[in-house]
């Protein structure tokens, strides 16, 4: 008998690679962005912008390179992630370019156009994505660097303390000749690698070797110790650097991964208790935080008195003036918000100029990226891949919620950037790398298992018939 029988549980059924779907979506994403760019030019100057061809070609090139790299190096990767990220990146570029045209900004002495830089950073980001896909043949390689990741992450987090604060937060490092870098954005990915590697090893100990105390399972100190220490250390540093958004992000990511690893709900309770204690503690000592909270409670109360409050109120008014359909790109006044309009507050421009409809679309695009990430985690076959994928997509979800919720006044403003949309080199580069890792995990997860090699024994085995 020379028939090859399938003996593995996961079938060698040819899963469709969906690369052509991805290409189609990519064309769509680039086209929407180019239309947005044309819209801004027509609204502001009454003519198609002169840079439109270059911009369109640039974005198409980035998307194309990304797509080809995926086709070549991760053929079974999730087809939605890349086009969605490209769409957000492209729309972000159009909106940043629109804010560059603001006469109010151009009158400021500190003003510098950001669109061309952002395009350059996007190129670097896509380049990093390609590097991740090429160099990282299998995401499990990262597992080897668990403790090195820890050290690198801590180093990246400590580094900005030695540089002066920018706008009240010490989250920047300045490298002469290169510019400023926000190491926290990269630390986000690296610390996810550490958590995933550590939790994968210790998850049984954390879940099972615990004492029951008041209905909760308390893990042993030696299992929890290192991770708790790293977490507390990073939180402390972040609080010291007054980077609230990142503190929240790291903490959220930690709780999510711990919960997934141990499958114990008690960790959620733990996490919430700790975060409540932390929040109250920080709020009691940090005037910066108190300011944000009062601005959140009543944004209009501090008008003319507090910058934070005024900025918040201006953001709300930008959303309000957009209404259902928005004023149209280039026709709003979201630049009234001031200096952070193209980074932290870029969603206010979306809200004002694309309206409720545009905001919902953008939020759904973010939601789709997150859910594709979670889907990747579900599909991944190895615990490390699952943990890393959920860590990355969970942190992405939390970042989107914290930033969008902040500028919309749902929660106190914490000051982070909207992934892909906002101007900021570190952010866009790090998030492209994040997408790269997710693509790699999803590729491994969706890749059909290799057909088992014909067993030399198969033919030898004889069925003994009575």
């Amino acid at each position: 008998m020379s028939v090859v029988t399938n003996t593995t549980t996961i079938g060698a059924i040819d899963a469709p690679s969906r690369r052509n779907t991805e290409l189609m979506l990519m064309v769509f994403a680039v086209a929407i962005s180019v239309f947005a760019y044309a819209n801004v030019g027509l609204a502001l100057n009454g003519e198609l912008p002169s840079g439109m061809l270059g911009y369109g070609l640039g974005l198409a090139l980035l998307g194309g390179i990304g797509h080809l790299a995926v086709r070549r190096f991760a053929p079974y990767a999730d087809p939605l992630l890349l086009p969605l990220a490209t769409l957000l990146n492209g729309l972000g570029l159009a909106i940043i370019w629109r804010l560059d045209q603001s006469e109010r900004f151009q009158a400021l002495t500190t003003f510098a156009p950001a669109a061309s830089k952002q395009l350059m950073f996007s190129a670097v980001g896509v380049g990093l994505l390609v590097v991740v896909l090429v160099a990282l043949k299998d995401h499990r390689i990262l597992q080897r660097y668990t403790y090195i990741s820890m050290l690198v992450a801590l180093f990246l987090l400590i580094l900005p303390m030695f540089f002066p604060a920018v706008n009240g937060a010490k989250i920047w490092i300045k490298i002469p000749g290169v510019g400023t870098i926000q190491p926290g954005e990269f630390a986000k990915i690296i610390i996810a690698v550490f958590f995933a590697g550590y939790l994968m090893v210790k998850r049984d100990a954390l879940a099972l070797a615990s004492r029951r105390f008041m209905g909760l399972y308390l893990p042993r100190g030696r299992d929890l110790g290192p991770i708790l220490m790293v977490w507390a250390f990073s939180i402390l540093i972040l609080v010291f650097e007054t980077d609230l958004g990142s503190s929240l992000l790291f903490f959220g990511m930690f709780v999510v991964m711990l919960y997934v690893a141990t499958e114990r709900t008690s960790w959620i309770v733990f996490g919430l208790l700790m975060s409540a204690a932390g929040a109250v503690g920080v709020a009691a000592f940090e005037p910066h935080v108190q300011q944000r909270v009062t601005a959140w409670l009543d944004p209009f109360a501090g008008w003319g008195k507090e910058d934070a409050s005024e900025q918040m109120a201006k953001s709300l008014m930008a959303f309000g003036s957009g209404g259902t359909l928005g004023t149209g790109l280039g026709q709003g006044n979201s630049d009234l918000i001031g200096f952070a309009a193209n980074s932290d507050f870029i969603l206010a421009t979306v809200g004002e100029e694309l309206g409720l409809a545009g905001m919902m679309a953008i939020l759904l695009v973010y939601g789709l990226i997150v859910e594709r990430g979670v889907r990747t985690a579900l599909a991944a076959r190895d615990p490390f891949g699952k943990l890393l994928a959920i860590g990355l997509s969970g942190s992405f979800a939390i970042q989107v919620f914290v930033v969008a919720g902040g500028v919309m006044g749902l929660i106190p403003l914490t000051g982070m950037t909207m992934p892909f949309l906002a101007a900021g080199g570190s952010s866009v580069i790090a998030n492209w790398a994040l997408i790269g890792i997710l693509l790699r995990i999803s590729d491994t997860a969706r890749r059909p298992a290799p057909a088992p090699a014909p067993s030399p024994d198969a033919e030898m085995t004889q069925v003994v018939r009575p």
């Binding site: 008014m317 003036s321 939020l363 759904l364 939601g367 979670v374 985690a377 579900l378 699952k386 939390i398």
Partner: protein, 485 residues
């Protein structure tokens, strides 16, 4: 590990859902509230983003819009002959809001009024540039110019009305200001406005509508109307019961006349001709406070008048006997705006019918479609037609051979009344010179006017209604009659 993963997926879904709910709440439910917020600069930006409609006099705009640079406000208001028209138009400033017609008719002028809904919807499809609608006023450019020129650098005000319709023909206040001086939002504009606010002559005060003066002897027209209406005296040439000297009731002093004039038992006509304080003081006292208040109220006293610009309420006070007698000759705490006294003259000229004064004849949509036309409306009937004609004869006598001869116009019947209102503690300050009058042609009276001059520079003895104010009234009346020819 898949069970917690699915829960995390639901959790992430909830996060996005929370954001979606919030954005709907913000942009749909709270949108109007946020858009109307006082701190929302978009309101101002919108307001000045389009050319503002114009205020029109005699078919020509007295306002305009110019494009500005250097701020996010695109258009700025300008006025032609600003100081002359300021009491009519008010101001509209990028930094300091708007007043009077510019403020009251803002909806039409900016094009945001609900009355322009169809017009706006239409231009949404035609793609026409948004502009504001126009306000067509009732003012008469020639009369306004005559009044403004007549007052010159004296402090004072003129109000002129068409007695048959109530249309306001002239509204002047001096010293005036140029609203163009602070229409922008630069530092220079702020300084100009500060200067105006600090000026002790109060150039931004609209004296024609917002300043009340003691009306002095011009009020005797109202007192005479009260006497006729209440049947105190029937014939205007019958002798009245007016002793001289006449003791002010409940006091030890006599009410004096200005100079040695024939006031003893003078007829109403003679008393008005010579402006006898004794005769009219006694009439006021004979009728009593309540009847005097009733008659004054019929002329419009004791209430704010909306033209639509608000005019302060003129006051005929509730008072004791001696004060009431003094109020009857326009002294004590009797106070009137120039518009109010023009209304008195207008009611007499229009055979007793007082028409509601107004200054907006039409509102026009940006495409010049008329969306509102004022219908003339009677305010009240302070005196019967018969009594009004008697009063006309009396007032015409004043102009023909009394104190008001300076108001005579060739070939036109003019009726009037002078007034010299004392004010200040113990009559210490220079009095106000008043003159109210109307002109009459074959087709009824086209104009009634009130002039007040508060000139502290003039030699005290020269101040009299007939001398200072009557020539201005005559020029205004003449301008109106000439423009009708």
């Amino acid at each position: 590990m898949n069970k917690p993963l699915r829960r995390i997926a639901i959790f992430c879904g909830l996060l996005v859902l929370a954001l979606l709910v919030r954005v709907n709440w913000l942009q749909y439910v709270r949108a109007d509230e946020l858009n109307g917020n006082e701190h929302n600069r978009r309101v101002q930006i919108e307001r000045y983003a389009h050319e503002r409609g114009n205020i029109i006099v005699d078919g020509k705009p007295v306002t305009g819009s110019v494009e500005t640079t250097g701020s996010d406000f695109k258009y700025k208001r300008v006025w032609k002959n600003g100081p002359m028209w300021a009491p009519v138009t008010g101001y509209s400033s990028q930094a300091f809001d708007a007043s009077q017609l510019e403020s009251l008719e803002d909806g039409i002028l900016t094009g945001n009024s609900d009355q322009l809904f169809f017009d706006r919807t239409l231009s949404l499809f035609t793609g026409e540039k948004k502009t504001g609608g126009n306000i067509v006023t009732t003012l008469n450019g020639a009369a306004q110019k005559a009044a403004f020129k007549g007052l010159g650098n004296k402090k004072g005000a003129v109000a002129a009305i068409d007695p048959q319709t109530g249309a306001i023909l002239a509204l002047v206040s001096t010293p005036s200001y140029d609203p163009s001086a602070f229409a922008g939002n630069s530092l220079k504009d702020a300084e100009a406005r500060q200067q105006l606010l600090k000026d002790k002559d109060k150039p931004m005060l609209n004296r024609a509508l917002r300043e009340t003066y003691p009306p002095g002897s011009t009020f005797k027209v109202v007192t005479a109307a009260a006497a006729l209406e209440n049947g105190l005296y029937k014939g205007i040439d019958d002798k009245t019961d007016s002793p001289l000297p006449w003791r002010l009731p409940l006091t030890t002093g006599n009410l004096e006349n200005e100079g040695n004039i024939p006031c003893e038992n003078a007829s109403l006509r003679e008393a008005l001709r010579w402006s006898c304080n004794t005769v009219f003081g006694k009439i006021s006292d004979d009728l009593g406070n309540q009847k005097m208040i009733d008659e004054a109220n019929k002329f419009g006293f004791n209430e704010e008048i909306f033209t639509p610009v608000r005019a302060d309420a003129s006051i005929y006070p509730k008072d004791n006997r001696p004060q009431n007698a003094m109020a009857g000759i326009g002294q004590a705490s009797n106070r009137a705006t120039p518009l109010q006294m023009a209304m008195v003259a207008a009611a007499v000229a229009n055979d007793g019918k007082l028409m509601q004064p107004y200054m907006v004849a039409q509102r026009q949509a940006p495409n010049l479609d008329v969306i509102y036309t004022h219908e003339k409306e009677q305010f009240s009937q302070p005196l019967s037609g018969e009594n009004a004609q008697k009063l006309q004869q009396m007032m015409e006598t004043v102009v023909k051979n009394g104190t008001g001869t300076n108001a005579l116009i060739d070939g036109v019947t003019v009726g009037g009344k002078t007034g010299t209102a004392q004010h200040g503690l113990n009559n210490s300050e220079n009095p106000y010179a008043w003159f109210i009058s109307y002109a009459k042609t074959d087709s009824g009276s086209p104009v009634a006017v009130a002039v007040v001059v508060e000139d502290s520079q003039a030699n005290r003895d020269d101040i009299s209604g007939g001398g200072l104010a009557a020539p201005i009234a005559r020029d205004v009346m003449k301008a109106v009659i000439d423009s009708k020819k």
